[in-house]
Structure formats: structure tokens, C-alpha cells
């Protein structure tokens, strides 16, 4: 891993969220997964109207509430208090997942343990024998949204690659991921495999490849 010694500046968590946010056009219906993806909403200005969906039947979420203005009946799928924008609406769980499973969401952004260059995603369990693995709505979102983007660190804490030629962890969905945003790069999943769209400042393609188990490509 000698490549790790090269000088470059990874994207911060905030910048990662900003990178995703910058690519979401007005008018999209978007579900942001629990964890890092939730922060994406903070970087979409309110006057660029993007309609955020939460699995528990909330459509049109706004920013987090001020502490003295919490509505106890309004939470998101991560069980955080949220606000509702003018134009927001409520529905029951089957209708909420009809939005997801019926292909009505323009985009879902999820975290992941691994993404393969055929678009497979593993984000719910790190072992076949996980104690009580918890899947939540991840499989519905991954299989149902029009586009699935992943937002995650480029490598795991132990340094192992998360962009892989084949997922070793249990799958969430097959051939579902369209794009991956990491702290090192933005990578499209194409018929050729992973295509690098941009990289963290100072990072070379070779250096990125060294941190990536799957083969990377440059845009044609």
C-alpha cells in the first residue's frame, strides 16, 4: 500500500454530502438512507425544490426542527425529528413503500459495506451468520428506486476495499447501484464497470486504483 503515502486531500464528510447534493436536480423525489446519506439534504438549498421521502410515510421533509419547535409526531426513518415543508404529505406504510417499490422515487442514496462493479450492493449484514441482521427498507429502496447512488468511505476501517469485483458480504440487491460517492472519488457503474468521474484533489488514478479492488476505468 505504498500509494497511501502520496499527498492528497480526501473529501470530508461534508464535502461528500455536498458532492451528492450538487448532482440532485430540482423536482426529484429522493430517499436518503440512514447515516451519512441523511446529511445530503442539508446541502440542497430550499429554493431548489427537491422532495425528500422517508419510509415511514413522510413525503416532503424539510430541515431538522429547532429544539423548541419539535413536533413529536413527525420523525424520519432514522427516528430523528424532522419538519414538513408546505406541500408535504403523509401516507401509510404500504403506500409509502408503493412509492419505493413502484419505481416512483427518482433517487435513493444509501450507505454500503461493499459495491461491486456490476452494481451489486451489500449494505445490511457483514456476515452470513450475523446475529439478528436488520434489513429495514434497504432492499426495497435498492430494488425499487429509479436510481441508486451509494455514499460511503472508499475503504473500510481496516483498509480493505469497498469497491470490489464481487461482493463478499450478503447482498442487498443485484445490479442496482448507478453511482458511488466516496471520500476519494465519484464513480459511475456502467456496462464497462466502474468509471471514475472525479477524484479528491491531488489523488492520482493509480493511487485511487490502489485503494480499489475492482478495476477502474476512465471515461471513454
Amino acid at each position: 500500500m505504498s500509494a497511501t503515502t502520496a499527498e492528497f486531500k480526501p473529501f470530508s464528510r461534508v464535502m461528500m454530502a455536498q458532492n451528492v447534493a450538487a448532482d440532485i436536480p430540482e423536482g426529484w423525489y429522493v430517499n436518503l438512507g440512514i447515516g451519512i446519506p441523511t446529511a445530503v439534504a442539508d446541502h440542497v438549498p430550499l429554493d431548489r425544490e427537491v422532495i425528500f421521502h422517508s419510509e415511514n410515510g413522510v413525503l416532503g421533509m424539510g430541515p431538522a426542527p429547532e429544539k423548541d419547535k419539535i413536533e413529536p409526531w413527525l420523525i424520519n426513518a432514522g427516528k430523528q425529528y424532522v419538519t414538513l415543508r408546505a406541500g408535504g404529505s403523509m401516507c401509510h406504510h404500504a403506500d409509502s413503500f408503493a412509492m419505493i417499490r413502484g419505481g416512483h422515487l427518482d433517487l435513493c442514496v444509501l450507505g454500503a459495506f461493499q459495491v461491486a462493479d456490476n452494481g451489486d450492493i451489500a449494505n445490511w449484514a457483514t456476515s452470513e451468520n450475523d446475529t439478528a441482521p436488520a434489513v429495514g427498507g434497504a432492499m426495497d429502496l435498492a430494488a425499487g428506486a429509479k436510481r441508486l447512488w451509494v455514499l460511503m468511505e472508499h475503504t473500510a476501517k481496516d483498509g480493505s476495499a469497498k469497491l470490489v469485483s464481487k461482493c463478499t458480504y450478503p447482498l442487498t440487491a443485484m445490479a442496482a447501484v448507478k453511482r458511488v460517492y466516496t471520500n476519494l472519488a465519484t464513480v459511475d457503474v456502467t456496462e464497462r464497470g466502474f468509471v471514475v468521474l472525479n477524484m479528491a484533489p491531488g489523488l492520482t488514478f493509480e493511487n485511487l486504483q490502489a485503494r480499489t479492488e475492482a478495476k477502474l476505468h476512465l471515461p471513454a
Binding site: E26, G60, G87, S89, M90, M99, I100, G102
Partner: protein, 227 residues
């Protein structure tokens, strides 16, 4: 700013292609998007498949669309109506295909299309002509048949209220097929009696969230007439 409200019928009907499957809401004339049906007549698309509860009445609306030779096939539960002369004439002449579907199966097939369910089992129609050629399966001691989802390329909807995000409410029995037609259609076009400011419809009272709606045309025609 998202604004699904269109100003003209031409905008409402833009880019509707020949060969489209069109889901048309309404039960009798209540909750039926009559003005949009007239807009579709004007727009000119042909070789259409129409799914609706009825097959038109008199020489207006769906009946007129059929009379003009623009409908290849109709999927409905009840082709009879107070005056089904156009449909019956075409049908007897072999100039229109008919697929009869039990009303609940029709509703469930449309809802399934909106919900990502490509096929489902149902007890309705077992042992009848409706079951001929369909997959049968015994589940927990009862026999069911498999029905597939019914998708619309275009959905025509009538709402009571709408806002610029496309959130909709309906009035009383005007709801009927409208919410599921909106869910199941690639392009959902709405005529609405009232336009509301964003936020004026209570979030708990919105029946069709704007995610299922593409275009909204303001058509304040008042109460439905006869059937």
C-alpha cells in the same frame, strides 16, 4: 420551483404517443376527467388501449374517441351503460377488442402496477370464464388465479383540489379510481376543480401525493351532470 400546473390543454396533452395504454378514472360521470378526454380526442393519438370501468356513453367522451376509430382495445368491467351504442356497434363489427375484467380485479391490477407488484393471486373469477387460460394455484385450501399488473402510459385523473406539487384531494365518490390511476401511470395528467396554494391542504388530508402526478390543468367545471 416545482410547478406541475400547466396553462393549456396542449401542454397537458403534449407528447402522448400512438399506441399508448390510457387509464381513465371515473365511475359514471363522477370523478371522470371529461375535459381531459376531450383533450385527448383533440390531441390525436390513435391505436390506443383504454382501461376504464365503462366503455363510454352516447357520442361524447370515450364513446367519441372510439367512434373516431382511435381505440384499438378496451379493458373494462362494465361495457354496458345508459347508452353504449358506439361501443356495441364497433364490437359487433369486430372493430374493437374487448377485455372484460371484474371491477375489483381491475382496481387491484391498477394498484399493483403502481406498487411494484407485477402479478398477484386472487379468488375473484375462479371457476368462471375469467379464469380460462390463467394460472391456477391452491393456497391454504382455496383456489386462486394469477392476475397481472395493469400499467398506464397515460393516466387521466379528476381531482377536487390540487397544488403546484401535484398533491390532490377528491370530493366524496369522486375519488373512485383516481388515486390508483395516478399511481399506475407513467404520465399522470389531472384536471382539477380548485387550485390551492402549497401548504393549504393539510398533510393528513392529501389523498394523492404529488409524486404520482405530472401535470395539472385547472378545469373548474362545477358538479358532474347525469350519467
Amino acid at each position: 420551483m416545482i410547478n406541475k400546473i400547466v396553462q393549456t390543454m396542449a401542454d397537458a396533452m403534449a407528447d402522448i404517443k400512438d399506441g399508448s395504454t390510457v387509464l381513465v378514472s371515473g365511475f359514471g360521470s363522477v370523478g371522470q376527467p371529461n375535459v381531459l378526454i376531450d383533450g385527448l380526442i383533440e390531441q390525436g393519438a390513435k391505436d390506443l388501449t383504454i382501461a376504464a370501468n365503462n366503455a363510454g356513453s352516447g357520442h361524447v367522451g370515450l364513446a367519441r374517441l372510439m367512434e373516431l376509430g382511435r381505440v384499438r382495445r378496451i379493458i373494462c368491467s362494465f361495457p354496458r351503460s345508459s347508452d353504449p351504442v358506439v361501443f356495441e356497434t364497433l364490437y359487433r363489427a369486430g372493430k374493437i377488442e374487448l377485455e372484460i375484467v371484474p371491477q375489483g380485479t381491475l382496481a387491484e391490477r391498477i394498484r399493483a402496477a403502481g406498487a411494484g407488484v407485477p402479478a398477484f393471486f386472487t379468488a375473484t373469477g375462479v371457476g368462471t370464464k375469467m379464469a380460462v387460460g390463467k394460472e391456477h394455484r391452491e393456497i391454504n385450501g382455496r383456489t386462486y388465479i394469477l392476475e397481472d399488473a395493469l400499467f398506464g402510459d397515460l393516466g387521466l385523473v379528476e381531482a377536487w383540489e390540487a397544488d403546484r406539487w401535484g398533491n390532490l384531494t377528491y370530493k366524496l365518490a369522486g375519488r373512485n379510481f383516481n388515486p390508483i390511476v395516478a399511481m399506475a401511470s407513467k404520465l399522470t395528467v389531472v384536471q382539477t376543480q380548485h387550485i390551492r396554494e402549497l401548504g393549504d391542504i393539510h398533510p393528513d388530508h392529501i389523498v394523492t401525493p404529488g409524486i404520482f402526478v405530472d401535470r395539472v390543468l385547472h378545469v373548474p367545471y362545477g358538479d358532474p351532470g347525469g350519467f
